[in-house]
Symmetry: none
Subunit: 524 residues, 2 copies
């Protein structure tokens, strides 16, 4: 079986994505996860390009790398400096990373325009840089920047550049589609040509044409044995090849051997962890690891899945640590309900008794503008209500909001609520940063005395959608709220022509759901 | 040159994405944009599967389709019904769509498990369905569902299914990678085999392996002449082939002829419009059309770009209506301003005098969350303010909103405003259906006496976007308001952590803009 090495550049090329800005501690956290996942090469940064990366390599010395190799990234020597005087190269050595990855120009256009040197001198720069790093005992990966553009423009020169690196002892030659503009057949041709020069060829693909994953796989098919990429495909512009798709494709679809294959089931967790550290919303539609990757919405699909899970899934989601979801929507029927019966706490008996009533209730609410996909907690409350299993832990008798925009521009938001818990009535008020925050604060203030564990519940996401926009300010709005208590998230929904009322409904559902699931014998 | 037809299923398969829930009016809006973009086939939905799609086809009769063909989607006849008694087929005909797309099973496993019928009967179902639709004069596209899985499992049967559709007169045979699990080489083999049976083969790819775009291109390379996909790649699970990448790849990279090629420069606008209607955050990293698709962050890249733009861009962004961003330079701002100076009513002299100040003011507001694309009236007001040309027709001294949710469920929204026009102060109040409507009513009531022509101005569109969702109810919200007076529409924006304040800002801007442009000598 063919073996492929995985080279992760989440911490270097991945950090070039607009909107990503890692601290040194963020980088160390991600490094630890990648090591425990069993990645082969971990590129930590460009020591010297910025102080953050120097510090990272300093701190990284304390990590236990297990089987993972740390790589430092840099460029070939300066056109007019000797290797032993080039501060960039000295920093690479000082980083003490056992692997050094240097990029060199392989596109003649770039040598002359960007580097402003001769084609001959560039060949010398490549040779001397690699030779110098080999002399000090490093494993050297040579990244041939813009290789495919160079190979199209001047194939002879592009291959000459590689030859210099090989002659100087480079361990791996990585062909970079730096601008992300190449088609699969161009990648194949480039890899095949390079393999005639060196047996160990790698691929570094960018996603500007939405082909980075395909181009990586095609390169492997053509004989490449290293794939460079990033977790979630983060990277400059449109990103790099997404290792979260490359890895399962290699293992499950192509039968290629990779060292981390026993950790495939941790892939979804790894993907979401990196998104969390990057402070980016995980892309729900991301292949393999996204929250919607195995979500079935159409009624036809749901009914087929009940009969055979293979019918609408390319792989069992458990293999990558993800899970199946069948969502309830107006496109679906009783099949979807049946599929979810366990999650919804419904016995088969109850589905029989209440099935039609439930579907009718869901459809009626959807007609009003409700949407229960992504609002599973509200759906569960609805199911409990229809099946007579809902005992509400509190009741809001009255609520009032006062928002004042003062002459000096100050904005005051104040909420007053009258809440009943059993025989007790609590009448209280709170300020807030905005009306919904004021309401949230007032409700919590009222309920915390009786339900102290409510403090565990945090509101984490708030979305507003105006449904019939043409109705102007009289439009119906839908509010989706996500709260979390520890690891579990609670998703609720509220709909009204009044955004405050819609928000209050969604807020109330989240509180009720939490209390029902976290308090024995709720007062009603 | 090879010609390929583009078949859009944003409104059908695209609507299967988790989190998307179009109203009929949303679907009509998207349809209009796709028609003006010049898409070849527009799949409107599955008439009969839900009442929404029936209504869409009813309303769609009023649209001017120009060169676009409307397609209705449905399945082959029920295993135990005659074609002329099958309500699904009758609905397809009743939709009056000139094109009917029917999907049939081509994976033997599915015929037996999901349809619970014999392989023989399935062949009959395919033949009779296509023949029936051809008899009533429809163009018929046959979607061979799960073709590639079927071709792997039982190639003989998969091809037999296609043969039936061809024999019955199908105009196009579309091979579907329904589960999205196939590799490029499997796609190529399937297309090549199908082309031996029929010359007009299409591809319908899903993105579960992050290969949908690549698989579509490989199919075209192998001879397919129809590509099905969706705008932004929206669709069930991980989505469909993203037409926003497929289209430029076909035109710019593969030299394929498509009918919409003259509209390529409108692609970015189309992509963002559909995201807006779907109420999904546009993916900034999306190839070609994303906000970061041509953003250069690395210092090396930026300095190379200054020398030669081709060095780090696979295509000039203007070709797809996108633009370049370099995070280190303010130059872009002033030249943008120069470019827009006429629209903004700025003389060249004023650009010289106020240019830097204006760019700084715009950047500062953008940093707060403002966005002036689609809020041109607010931008013009900002320009007037900075250049000293704004005389405000009124001033709001104080405003207050009271929202009360009563015990019986009734919701009251009341707004109180104190407005100054010249020396006159008007202190008044109004109810409304929701808080923003109450504010709008109160402001108009205050101003109508002095500016009677204000009654011409109608609020026509209201949108809310939560910017930093992770901040929960303290998040910053952006409100976009569209008003119209006769034919002209006025677009304004307001930003705040308080949705009421944000709405009031956008409302106020629309009133000021209208009054400035419709009243001689405004009082200040």
């Amino acid at each position: 079986m063919m073996k492929v090495y995985l080279y992760d550049t989440t911490l270097r090329d991945g950090a070039q994505a607009e909107g990503i800005n890692y601290t040194v501690s963020d980088k160390l956290k991600i490094a630890r996860k990648l090591i425990s996942f069993g990645i082969d090469y971990l590129e930590g940064g460009w020591p010297g390009a910025n102080p953050k990366d120097l510090e990272f390599f300093q701190e990284a010395k304390k990590l236990d790398f297990n089987k993972t190799k740390l790589a430092a990234f840099g460029s070939t020597r300066h056109p007019r400096l000797k290797v032993k005087d080039d501060p960039n190269l000295l920093n690479l050595i000082k980083s003490e990373a056992p692997v050094v990855t240097v990029f060199g120009k392989s596109w003649d256009l770039h040598v002359e325009s960007a580097l402003a040197t001769t084609l001959e001198n560039n060949l010398l720069m490549v040779y001397e840089t690699v030779a110098f790093l080999k002399e000090v005992g490093r494993e050297v990966v040579f990244d041939a920047e813009h290789f495919f553009d160079g190979f199209k423009n001047n194939p002879e020169y592009a291959l000459k550049v590689i030859e210099q690196a090989v002659r100087a002892g480079a361990d791996f030659i990585v062909l970079c589609d730096t601008n992300g503009g190449s088609l699969p057949k161009e990648i194949r041709a480039g890899v095949e040509a390079a393999l005639k020069i060196h047996p160990r060829i790698g691929i570094h693909a960018h996603n500007d044409s939405e082909l980075a994953v395909a181009n990586s796989l095609i390169a492997v098919e053509a004989g490449a044995t290293m794939v460079q990429g990033t977790i979630n495909g983060y990277g400059e512009r449109c990103g790099n090849a997404n290792l979260c798709s490359v890895i399962p494709n290699l293992i499950l679809k192509m039968g290629v051997e990779v060292n981390c294959q026993d950790n495939l089931k941790n892939l979804t967790r790894l993907s979401r962890y990196v998104a969390e550290i990057a402070n980016l919303h995980p892309n729900p539609y991301q292949p393999y690891t996204g929250q919607s990757a195995f979500t079935h919405k159409g009624g036809v699909h749901a009914s087929a899945l009940l009969k055979d899970k293979g019918t609408y899934e390319h792989i069992p989601p458990e293999l990558v640590g993800n899970h199946r979801k069948v969502s309830i929507s107006d496109q679906a029927g009783v099949s979807n309900l049946l599929f979810n019966s366990e999650n919804l706490g419904l016995s088969e008996e109850e589905v029989k008794t209440y099935g039609k009533e439930l579907v009718a209730a869901i459809k009626a609410m959807e007609h009003q503008g409700y949407q229960f996909e992504g609002a599973e907690a509200s759906l569960e409350l609805l199911v409990r209500k229809v099946t007579g299993k809902l005992s509400e832990p509190f009741k809001i008798d009255n609520s009032k909001l006062i928002i004042e925009i003062k002459e000096d521009g100050r904005v005051l938001s104040e909420a007053v609520v009258k809440v009943r818990v059993g025989d007790t009535t609590i009448h209280t008020a709170s300020d807030g940063n905005g009306p919904v925050n004021a309401l949230d604060n007032a409700l919590r203030k009222a309920l915390l005395e009786i339900y102290p564990n409510l403090s565990e519940l945090k509101l984490t996401d708030y979305k507003v959608r105006v449904l019939n926009e043409k109705a102007g300010t009289e439009a119906v709005v839908r509010v989706l709220i996500e709260s979390s208590a520890g690891e579990k998230s609670i998703n609720t929904v509220g709909v009204s022509t009044n955004i405050i009322e819609a928000s209050l409904k969604a807020l109330t559902d989240s509180l009720i759901y939490f209390l029902i699931n976290n308090n024995e014998g709720t007062v009603s």
